[in-house]
């Protein structure tokens, strides 16, 4: 295997505690391009492998857009486009517009949460180098993986990279690129 097609080095664990310890150790060695793969979420990893979480902001923007769209649509239709006098009530009878405003706020916020979280994750995706690892099918069952990517600057340093082998992993394997 040539160095260009190497995606990274995968460390396999069978317990969440060992994964977390290894993630801490790898970060302490100075690696930055590190990713954990696991069968359910563990909150502690969010601190060890930092990253941003813009989902709440996306949902907020979606909700505000939904609410404003609904109010604007109702105002335009009820006041400008198709005004109907119902028992002398004002054309812009905004309290009656609130239920639909609420519904569309929720709808766009929910779509933002769904589409936003998938878009951040880059899903749907047909293939990813981690699937080249033959043991990776157990990541959706009972195994935990820590992958140090080859594009990390420290990866070229043989002594630091070889120190990964000292971690208490069940198995350590190189992952082919693409």
């Amino acid at each position: 295997m040539s160095a260009q097609t190497l995606y990274g080095v995968a460390l396999e664990f069978d317990s969440p505690v060992e994964l977390i310890e290894a993630a801490r150790a790898v970060r302490a060695k100075g690696f930055r391009k590190v990713e954990a793969y696991l069968p359910y979420p563990i909150e502690e990893l969010d601190e060890i492998l930092p990253g941003s979480d813009p989902v709440p902001l996306m949902v907020l923007i979606g909700g505000i857009l939904g609410g404003l769209t609904a109010l604007a649509m109702e105002y335009y239709i009820a006041v400008i486009d198709y005004p109907i006098n119902v028992g002398g009530r004002p054309l812009n009878s905004w309290p009656a517009f609130i239920p639909i405003t609420f519904e569309l706020t929720v709808l766009l916020a929910a779509i933002a949460a769904f589409a936003g979280s998938l878009w951040l994750a880059g899903l749907p995706l047909l293939h990813h180098p981690v699937f080249n690892l033959s043991e990776f099918d157990r990541v959706t069952d009972d195994r935990f993986f820590l992958i140090v990517e080859a594009k990390d600057p420290l990866f070229k340093d043989d002594t630091i990279r070889n120190s990964l082998w000292q971690l208490n992993a069940l198995r350590i394997k190189e992952v082919e690129g693409s």
């Binding site: 954990a36 502690e44 009820a78 519904e103 709808l107 979280s117 749907p124 959706t140 009972d142």
Partner: protein
């Protein structure tokens, strides 16, 4: 000690407020994965599934025939007339949409309240919600009479230069139900993605691998993906919580905005929401009890789950009983002769049997749920749930019929009689629900696998005491 033994023997301090362990006996990550994925991938499909699916498809065929007859013959072939212009179709709409509410309560509200026992039942309860909304949404469209131009109720630029009336609760309903259906599907599918990936990785055939591989969108369990997934799930739960309350509130506005005695009442929104959750929990139990027996899920859906659902059913049933008491009181206290007349008419009028059936099914018989023996015993609990589900249908029928058949003027009085087609459409919609649900049970993970993994004490280093 092997890691499997550690997974089984790790203990976690009980969460505050929980007295029972959620799972029946020690599990490991791979036992829960194997148990649920094997239902879809390995085990032979049980005879029960074929029988239920066949019954469901028979219902679908009946429904297709009935809809064809309705579209060909017009609304005259069903029982509605003036003054009783709402009949079985609107009853079915309110009934089905109400059933969906328990699914959202379990998946969203109990998630926010950190009730971890919900992890065993939320997935199929959400599926129940989606199929119930699907059944519900068909009925107002059929009730339109000219169903093929249903889209006239949506605001869109059109050559007729007419637009929907946003002051009408019937238009609010379109937005409420379509939003509810969409949000429920998004929430359900987002939660299912990691479990579909489990099915992909456990599948032996090329076809199953491709099918679940596409459905899981290439999920790989990346810790950042999990973080966004979790945030999105919690936010969707936060959005679904007010949404579910708003949907049946808007449905109740269809009634309360009318000036009809018996409908024009401020108690209706909480009355409808309580009734919705009540009937929904009955449906959850009707589905859970046979499923756990047929698929041997006793270790995951335990007696504690049945007990909790039964308690929630009892609580919402008591809220409903309170509104049953309050309705005649409000009528009497208002001093309005029309309001009092409808209370009297409900109790002794030509449709009095609907009122008394409602009270027996929704108030009297469910009091059995006070007995723990009934709550933890699947057979009697199943029977009580069926009675409640029937009672809730009868309640909506009673509200619609009794308020409409006696107008202000005696010259406008009439009675309601259902026809064969009313019953065919009702039974047919149950067939659609059963068919969809059986397909879900056969082809999707009916219990959330990754949320069960989180329940194992071994799963959480921070929250559990490790041996």
């Amino acid at each position: 000690m092997t890691v499997e033994e550690m997974q089984r023997t790790t203990v976690r301090a009980p969460e505050p407020g929980t007295s029972v362990s959620v799972l029946a006996h020690p599990e490991t990550f791979s036992t829960v994965t194997d148990q649920i994925t094997s239902i879809v991938l390995k085990r032979p499909t049980p005879l029960f599934w074929y029988l239920a699916f066949a019954a469901g498809v028979a219902g679908v065929i009946l429904f297709i025939i009935a809809v064809t007859a309705l579209l060909y013959g017009g609304l005259g072939i069903i029982g509605i007339e003036i003054p009783v212009a709402w009949g079985y179709l609107i009853t079915n709409f309110v009934w089905w949409i109400g059933i969906g509410h328990a699914g959202t309560l379990i998946s969203a509200i109990l998630l926010l309240l950190n009730q971890s026992w919900r992890n065993s039942i939320n997935r199929f309860a959400e599926a129940m919600t989606i199929f119930a909304v699907l059944c519900a949404a068909m009925f107002p469209l059929l009730h339109l009479g000219r169903s093929w131009i249903f889209y006239w109720i949506l605001p869109y630029p059109n050559t007729m230069t007419v637009q929907p009336q946003f002051r009408s609760p019937l238009v609010w309903d379109v937005f409420a139900v379509s939003t509810y259906g969409t949000v429920s599907i998004l929430f359900w599918y987002l939660g299912m993605i990691p479990d579909l990936a489990s099915l992909r990785d456990k599948s032996k055939s090329r076809l199953a691998y491709a099918f679940y591989g596409i459905l899981c969108l290439g999920w790989r369990g990346d810790s950042h993906h999990w973080r966004w997934h979790k945030t999105a799930s919690l936010l969707l739960a936060g959005l679904a919580t007010p949404l579910v309350l708003s949907v049946h509130t808007v449905v109740s506005f269809d009634f309360t905005i009318a000036i009809l005695p018996g409908w024009h009442s401020t108690i209706f929104p909480p009355y409808f929401v309580a009734g919705a959750i009540y009937s929904g929990f009955a449906m959850v139990l009707i589905l859970a009890i046979p499923l756990r027996a047929v698929y041997k899920l006793h270790n995951l859906i335990t007696v504690a789950h049945l007990n909790n659902c039964a308690k929630l059913m009892l609580a919402t049933g008591l809220v409903l009983a309170y509104t049953y008491v309050l309705e005649p009181f409000t009528a009497w206290y208002s001093g309005d002769i029309y309001e009092m007349a409808i209370v009297h008419n409900r109790a002794v009028g030509p449709h009095a049997w609907t009122y008394w059936t409602t009270l027996i099914c929704n108030v009297a018989i469910p009091q059995l749920l006070w007995l723990k023996r009934v709550r933890i015993n699947p057979k009697p609990l199943f029977c009580v749930s069926v009675v409640i589900l029937y009672g809730m249908w009868m309640e909506r029928f009673m509200i619609i019929i009794t308020a409409l058949h006696r107008d202000y003027l005696p010259s406008a009085w009439s009675n309601f009689a259902a026809t064969f087609w009313d019953n065919a459409l009702t039974l047919g919609s149950i067939g659609i629900f059963v068919t969809c649900f059986m397909l879900f049970v056969r082809f999707a993970p009916m219990i959330s696998i990754f949320e069960l993994r989180e329940l194992l004490p071994f799963s959480n280093p921070a929250g559990g005491s490790m041996k």
